[in-house]
Amino acid sequence: MKSRSIKVDYLARVEGEGGIQIKIHDKTVSEVQFDIFEPPRFFEAFLRGRHFTEAPDITARICGICPIAYQMSSIHAMESACGVSVTGQLRALRRLIYCGEWIESHALHIYMLHAPDFLGYQDVLQMARDHGDAVKQALKLKKIGNELVTLVGGREIHPINLRVGGFYRVPTRNELRGLADRLKWARDAALETVKLTATFPFPEFERDYEFVALHHEEEYPFNEGKLISNRGLDIPISEYENHFAEEHVSYSNALHSVMKSRGAYLVGPLARFNLNFDKLTPAAQQAARDVGLVPPVKNQFKSIIVRSVETVYACEEALRIIQEYEMPESAAIDVHPRPGVGYGCTEAPRGILYHRYRINDKGLIVEAKIVPPTSQNQKSMELDLRDFVPARLNLPQDKLTWQCEQAIRNYDPCISCATHFIQLEFQ
C-alpha cells in the first residue's frame, strides 16, 4: 500500500494563518485538515460589558479586509435589539459603502490573491512583468473601491463614520457625484475582468453544494433579507441558530459550522449568484451570460468569474445610489437601548456574517455571538479537497500541492476572521 501526503505549512495569498494537511493511502484520501493556527483573540468574551454603541468599531478589528461587513452586521443587530430601523438615504448610504468594500475586496482577491494561481505566478508582482496593464487596471479598480469606502466611511481600513443609527457625518451630493466618472471606469474595468477571468483554465470539478445566501425581494443582497438555500431553507435571520450549529475540532482554532442534520454548506459569491441571479443588474447578468456563466454554477474555481460579475454589479449599484442621492437632514436617527436580543446578518464579500447580541437596560452587551463566513465554509473546503485530490494523484507533488492551495483560495478564506470565535461560556 502506497502512502503519500500533501502538506502546506503556511498557506499564502490568504488573510491570516492556516495550513493544509492531506493524507493519502492507496489512492484514497484518508484525511484532510484545513488547519487554522492563527491564535484566538476572544472577541465574544471581551465584548461583554462594552456599550452597544461600541460594537461596530470593536468588531471591525476582527478583520482588516472586510471591516464594513462587521460594522454592518453589528449595527443591524443592535438596531434590531433596540427596535429601530434605518430607512431612506441613510439605508442607501449603507449599501453604497458596502459596494465599496465588495469592489475593493473582490479586486484584491481576483487579481492579487487568486489570478496568479490560474496564470502560474507566485504573486501579482511576478504577474505584473507579463501582464502589466491588467495589474495596473486591477490596482486602479481596487483603489476606486477604497475611495468609495473612504468617502463614506472616513478611511478604507476600520472606517470611523458608521454608527448604530446611521453615520456621524453624511456626504454631500457633490462629494458623491465626484466619484461617478471613476465608478463608470470601474464598471468597464470590471466588465473586462469578467471576460479576462472567463478565459482562465478551470479544472473540471463540480460538487453538489447546499448554497446558502441572503435573499431580498428587490435587491441583490448586502444588508438585509431572509436566509434561503437551494434545498428549501427559508428562514428569517433570527432563526439562524435553530438551523446551524458550530463544532470544535482539535486541529483548528476556528469553529466549523454545519447545517443541523444536513452537514456542510456553502456561502459566498457562488451561493449569492445562484440564489439571486435575477436581482443582478441587466448588464451584470448579460456579462455573465456572455461568458457562459449561468446558475447554478457548481465549480468553486469559477468563483473568480462570479466575483468579477459581482464587481460589475457593485459598480452599477453604487452609480445608481449616487445618482438618486439626496443629502438627508440628519446623519443618524436616535437609538435608545432597551434590554433584549438583536440579530444581524449581512453579505460580507466571502459570504454571510451572522451576529447576535443580548444587551441590558443600560445598553451594555451581556452576550455576543459572531459566525463569520470562513468558518461556515470550512467543511466545504475540506470536502472539496477530498473529492479533488483522488482524480489528480498522477500529478507531480509540487503541482498537486499548488492546485490544493488554489482549491482553498477559491473561498477567499479570511482566517483572521474565522479564528476569533472561540465561544466562551461564563458561569
Binding site: G64, M112, K140, W402
Partner: protein, 259 residues
C-alpha cells in the same frame, strides 16, 4: 558603478486582523514603485514565494498571544537587520489585550467547547516586550502615508518623519472646531498621537485613540475635566481601554477608574 542589490523585505504576522499589512497592498499608487526598490522576499499574504533570510527590513504586525509566537518573534528578530512594528497590536498588544485585565486562565477553563485544544498566553503583549524594536509605527490601522514614509526613510538611510505630538495639533491646522470645548463628545485627541490627520473630529466625532498615547500625555487632567462635566467612571474606563488599552499611560488611567 556596480548596482547595489535591492534590500530584502519580510512581512510577519502575529495576532492581528491583517489590516496593517493590507495597508501595504492598499498603496495602489506606490506598490509597483516600492517593488522596484525593495525585494519583497517574504510576504505570505501576497506571495507563495519565500526567499530565505536574513532580511534587511522586517515589518511586524500583531501581538504576542501564544507560547509559540513568543518563540517565533525571537527567530524573526535574529533574521532581521531592522525590525519595524506596524500597528496598535504590535506596539501595544491591540484590542485583544483587553484579556490582560481579566484572569484568562479562569475564563479559558470554562471555555464552552474544548479548552485543551486552545493554547494561549494570559496576556497579549507588544513586540517590544519580547525583542528589540528599531521603530514603532502606530495606528489601528496604520496610516498609508506614514508607511510609505517609513519605507522611504529606510531606503534613504534617514529617520522617519512621523509626529509624536497630539491629534489636537492636526485639528487646529485643519481649522476644525474643537468638539471638546464646544459640544463635548468625549475626545481622546489631547492625549493621542497624531497620524490620522484628525480624522474623527473632521467627521464630528471624538477621537477614540487609534494611534495610542502621545509623548508625555496628561491623561489624568483630561479625565478629571470629564468627571467635572458629569462623565462616569465606567465610561471613562471604557474610553481609555480600547485599541491601545495596554499602552502604559492609557492602561494606568483606565485602572484609576476601576471600582
Amino acid at each position: 558603478m556596480k548596482k547595489s542589490r535591492k534590500p530584502k523585505l519580510a512581512v510577519w504576522k502575529f495576532s492581528s486582523c491583517d489590516g496593517c499589512q493590507l495597508t501595504l497592498l492598499d498603496c495602489e499608487d506606490e506598490l509597483l514603485a516600492v517593488a522596484e526598490n525593495i525585494e519583497i522576499a517574504n510576504f505570505p499574504e501576497a506571495s507563495r514565494n519565500v526567499v530565505k533570510g536574513p532580511y534587511d527590513l522586517s515589518l511586524v504586525e500583531g501581538s504576542i498571544t501564544t507560547p509559540h509566537d513568543a518563540e517565533r518573534i525571537h527567530q524573526v528578530r535574529r533574521s532581521s537587520k531592522v525590525l519595524i512594528t506596524i500597528g496598535a497590536c504590535a506596539t501595544a498588544g491591540g484590542i485583544q489585550a483587553l484579556r490582560n485585565f481579566k484572569d484568562v486562565r479562569e475564563f479559558t477553563s470554562i471555555v464552552y467547547a474544548t479548552p485543551s485544544y486552545i493554547e494561549t498566553l494570559n496576556k497579549s503583549t507588544s513586540i517590544a516586550d519580547h525583542v528589540f524594536v528599531d521603530f514603532e509605527l502606530r495606528g489601528c490601522p496604520i496610516s498609508k502615508h506614514q508607511l510609505v514614509e517609513v519605507l522611504s526613510a529606510y531606503l534613504n538611510g534617514r529617520k522617519p518623519a512621523t509626529p509624536t505630538y497630539s491629534v489636537c495639533v492636526d485639528c487646529k491646522r485643519r481649522g476644525i472646531v474643537c468638539g471638546l470645548v464646544t459640544h463635548g463628545p468625549p475626545c481622546l485627541g489631547p492625549v493621542t498621537q497624531a497620524g490620522c490627520n484628525a480624522l474623527c473630529p473632521s467627521y464630528h466625532r471624538g477621537c477614540f485613540g487609534c494611534f495610542g498615547p502621545k509623548e508625555t500625555p496628561n491623561t489624568s487632567s483630561l479625565a478629571s475635566y470629564w468627571l467635572s462635566l458629569g462623565m462616569k467612571n465606567p465610561d471613562l474606563l471604557r474610553l481609555f481601554r480600547s485599541y491601545n488599552a495596554y499602552a502604559e499611560p492609557f492602561r494606568k488611567e483606565s485602572e484609576a477608574h476601576e471600582k
